[in-house]
């Protein structure tokens, strides 16, 4: 049995359990608007097939009436592999239905040739299966491959990937043949947003944005429960918003881009200029800033201001409930934080300042987890 065979209410119940954890049938009914009878009817086959299970009683004191029975998703019912592809390496996770990582792995790529990468993905997936203790006979429910650039997840093709120099590669199909499991592909930031929407700081919110700050600066937007893709595949490009106060020229050729002052590369460059040390690394820049070097601190301050302006743009335009700030650079986050918040507050218009800013670390395997979340989503939220 697959979830897709089940009536719409089954998906609703399952999704509610995924997002809110163990609930009683009555509570599910209240949250979804279904009648108790409908919940029971729909939950029975799900339980028979191992998708959900009863997990005991809620800890309620002095409640009158028949005690409730909690039911919860059986996360291990289906396993997924998530693989993030960069220009240099693959990062993979084996994860369950809630995108919880069970095993992780990395593989260096020695070529960006499509065939080589596809084989490497298939190899990594096999490795993850073994590392996760899966028997040969256990089937993987799905594979999610994520990659930065212009990805058409419906067609399953990478339209354009600048880092790999790929154009119109039907990657989903290629990986599916090589690895032998249903495969979906998605833009990396959108995949991360999907993971947050279902299992992270975006769960239950109608509208939120996820901003990643690192080598590049990007964002995923979830509006009304849907991650926006953009009519031409472009959306959430906060890195290239032309905000004020940025004089440096961006790699895209423009001045004013947030990325021109706040990407890891841009910060390193600016710190080198500020110190006159042409071999300064990001780590060293962070150390200098923490030690109080005023010129380097100014570089981080400028980056923080630019990011704050970008967040203000997002808040003024779409008015999210929350903006999740995520990035590799969270070790150095204290160097930006105040400037981000300050310039956000200064430039958010009216009630947009009420938008909640949340910081979230982004460990390397998190990117791959996004892939697993996208693959899992295919199972529990089919055909949107």
């Amino acid at each position: 049995m697959t979830l897709a065979d089940q009536p719409p209410a089954a998906a609703l119940v399952f999704q509610t359990l995924l997002q809110h954890g163990p609930l009683s049938r009555a509570e599910i009914g209240r949250r979804t608007g279904l009648t108790p009878g409908a919940v029971t009817k729909v939950a029975t086959p799900l339980m028979a097939d191992g998708w959900i299970t009863e997990v005991g009683r809620p800890a309620t004191e002095g409640a009158s009436g028949r005690p409730a029975t909690l039911i919860a998703v059986r996360a291990e019912r289906a396993l997924f592999a998530g693989v993030k592809v960069t220009g240099e390496e693959l990062i993979g996770v084996l994860a369950d239905l809630t995108a919880r990582p069970l095993a992780t792995g990395r593989v260096l790529l020695d070529s960006r040739d499509v065939g080589t990468v596809v084989l490497a993905i298939a190899g990594l997936v096999d490795e993850l299966r073994t590392a996760g203790g899966m028997a040969q006979s256990d089937a993987l429910h799905g594979i999610g491959v994520t990659i930065s650039g212009d990805v058409d997840s419906r067609l399953g093709t990478v339209q354009y990937s600048p880092f790999l120099d790929w154009r119109r590669v039907p990657l989903a199909q290629l990986v599916e043949s090589a690895a032998g499991a249903p495969t979906v592909i998605e833009n990396d930031v959108r995949a991360l947003t999907v993971a947050e929407q279902w299992f992270g700081a975006g769960a239950g919110l109608s509208t939120f944005a996820l901003v990643t700050v690192g080598a590049g600066i990007g964002a995923g937007l979830s509006i009304g429960g849907r991650v926006v893709s953009g009519a031409h595949g472009v959306a959430g490009e906060v890195g290239h918003l032309p905000v004020s106060g940025v004089e440096r020229v961006c790699t895209c050729g423009n001045t004013g881009c947030v990325e021109a002052v706040a990407s890891t590369h841009a910060i390193t460059e600016q710190a080198r200029q500020a110190t006159g040390n042409a071999r300064l690394t990001m780590d060293e820049a962070v150390r200098l800033a923490h030690a109080g070097d005023p010129a380097v601190r100014a570089v981080f301050a400028g980056a923080g201001r630019a990011v704050g302006l970008a967040l203000a743009c997002v808040a003024n335009l779409i008015g999210p409930e929350r903006i999740i700030i995520s990035g590799e650079g969270v070790a150095s986050y204290d160097l930006f934080a105040d400037h981000i918040r300050q310039s956000f507050v200064d430039h958010a218009f009216g009630a947009a300042v009420d938008c909640d800013l949340v910081v979230r670390p982004l460990p390397f395997e998190e990117w791959a987890r996004g892939g697993a979340a996208v693959a899992a989503q295919r199972v529990f939220a089919p055909a949107k």
Copy 2:
């Protein structure tokens, strides 16, 4: 009979006819995914109650098979009043189901007191009924009142209107009592976006933005068929995006706002400074610019650049299929156009430049038409 009594498929059929004009039953089935049988079943009661009607044959040459019968919406089946409230006056229209204006009217307000304004709205609605030739016994299907500021259309309250200095005014209920017809209220720009979504340049698009340039600069965003409202009531505030190259201080206290250089007021101010004529009007500025005055032309160029940057922000963030530029200033649009387009193209990232820019005049009654569209939407797209 109301449309809300009818099955979901009825709304689907009706909406398809509204957006695409007369279609045969078979064609409706193809577009909506319904079976021909379902279309017939659902169309019969709609026709019996006068919501739709057969309008003849399509002009097909040499087609084989039984000729099709076109059906279309009977726009006059329901009439709506739309009223836009500003600090100085009311603008009203009487419109049919397709938001086509049948009569228009304006009333000056001599007070911004809530009670006075509500009575004035009721009076204007009555006037429109008469002007549109409605009998006393004919019922208005709905009233839509639009107003700039923070409007909660679900609650029916104006949370905050800067121009009227209103806070938490339950306007929908007040107008409903005074005018005796079901009333909805909505933010003015969002209402305009609804009108474009159903009956204008946004019909059939999954994602588009409508930008209005005038006394203020705002935008409505329609994403996946829904106009976004923002979690805190703020969305589409393109006028206060902190874009680069803007030095002037905005009324909101910040520098960098688009509105600080491109609103009608800001342009007039800058033109006065440029010419040294402290009493210059907008019309005179336009004339001077058309005559070739370099300083004044530079003011318009700067405004155009800022608007273009704002459009680039919208395109980079949400990736709409189309951006509709609308405003009172379309008479002077030629003074901006090239600069808007140029700075948009320069700063739109990647495929976002493929976004279609469309210019649309915004006659004064268009604002009120938005209200009628919102009221009509309540009838044919209930309970979203």
